[in-house]
Amino acid sequence: MSSPSGAHYTVLIVDDNPWLLQILSTSLAELDNLTIVTARDGAEGLEQFYETRPDCAVIDVKMPELDGFQLVRALRGDSETAQTPIIILTALVQDSARFVGLASGADQFLVKPVKPSELIAAIHRAIALRDEDRKRRLFELSADQPAEES
């Protein structure tokens, strides 16, 4: 489904600001050929995630219903969705927020404002790191296998 370059990824963006959602989905699709799925709040985000199985999720923190951190925790709690790269996108600059964000299992933490090109770069980096991680683990697993058998 995903090749290293020129790949076609699906990205879920969850944010409660309609203007931001609109311009992000337009610009990310225009600039990088990404398929964008959007959600206005955490609950809708969770629903969309299971429906579309995105390659990456970009999640705002301050949202009605389910906030960003709660959403990340929910996704990380499920083994099926635990491996999807997640980028927290927020206006909260405090370190405490940063800590909670990382502790909840997000891959990256971006502070608004972020330009579309920067966001695209972050999405690719997050996906690449996850892929590498997955490959490394597969390799370790296959290296372990014969040792266990003997």
């Binding site: 409660d16 600001n17 311009i23 992000l24 600039l31 404002p113 330009k115």
Partner: protein, 465 residues
Amino acid sequence: MGMQVTSAEEQIYRDIEHKRRLRLAQFLAPSLMFLQSFVFLGDVIAFVAEPAKTTLAYAGYIGTLASFGLFLLALPLIKRGDLNRAILCIVIALAITIFSPSVIRMAAQGFGPTVLTSIASYNLIIVLVGILTVNQAYTLGATVAVNLLTVGVIWFSPRAHDVSVAFSGESGIVGPLAIISQWGLAVLLLAALRIYTPAFRELGETQIAYERERQLDELKDQFITSVNHELRTPVMALQGYLELLLLKVDTMPLEQRRQLLIDANKVGDDLQVLITSILESRQLEQQANDFIPQAVNVWDVLQESIRLLNQHEPREKRWDLHLDIPHDLAIWGDRVRLQQVLLNLLSNAVKYSPAGSKIVITGRAIQKPGNDRQGADHQLAEIVIRDYGLGIPPEHIPLLFQRFVRLPRDLASSVSGNGLGLYLCQLYIEAMKGTIWVESTGVRGEGSQFTMHLPVEMRKEAGDG
């Protein structure tokens, strides 16, 4: 003169007084115990030396023991902060300590010099009650009790043979003299209380004012955080439009570029409104009084405000509006300012209520008892806006009309605002010589009620009066 305080702030007064009395009790209990130990020692010597003991003497000895016990009991009570009981223990212990030697002496020798001396120390009880309770009634009560005790001891104690001869001419003077000195002391204490009480009140008010300042400062910090959030998102959206246009300027169809520019322009407008409202609040403040008062029909202004509200609020959010205002109700003020106030209050009511919830607006003319020089009643227009939304926690009400104040609840949620709406409402209402206040239990669903009193149209007032 006194400031309006909430029940939470009233607690500050009580805390100051509690701390003061606690410190006093902490010092007094061990000090008096130390002094009491000498009395105790004297009684032990008397107990050993006195061969014949009457029931009265035993009562005296038991009293001394009991007072020692009461002092001991006061110590843990003070530690626990159970101040009222501790004070009761100390006062009773002191009273018994002072009284019991005279009882023992009286039993042994009848009324004599020792008893006479101890009467002088009865004054200590009045002083102790006065400084520990800081209460006129208790001080007066203690004085009367000590008077009765003095009278009882002087008139009803058995007279020692030789003493009765020595005092025969003067016993009529000893009693009144003692009582007069006790009342002298009471008067001094009451005078001190009179000076102390207002000073204490002022101290409390200073602390409350300080506490409010501190909270305001905290709220301002939170506000800066909140504005930070409100600004970053539209800036990011704006940057998004700009970068997309920049990168795709050659390839994008004209129509699409135009649409992006239109959208970007809207985001820019929103951003401008936000920044203006924050940065220009000082200017609005200066212009608040800049109007020529005239008769303003409340009904008309309200209709206009509702129309504006309908434009601003999303269509899906409906509310159940009830109006009960006489069509001829008019205030003496400024149309634009009244409209701004009503719009702010209404949009708050909508913002902090679930969709479809009831909002009631009532208006009427009321008579206010005159406190001006003529003492005449004057008419006021009362406008009440009642919603059934989230309400306002009572502890946050004193700060609510201050500049940049937003409830911690709203800062944590996604409800946007700049903390200026109610501030401007108060500013404008006061510019029109009116008052505005809010009542709320802070219980979700009970909502809040904003009440305004504004001067009515002059002509009408003259006609009615």
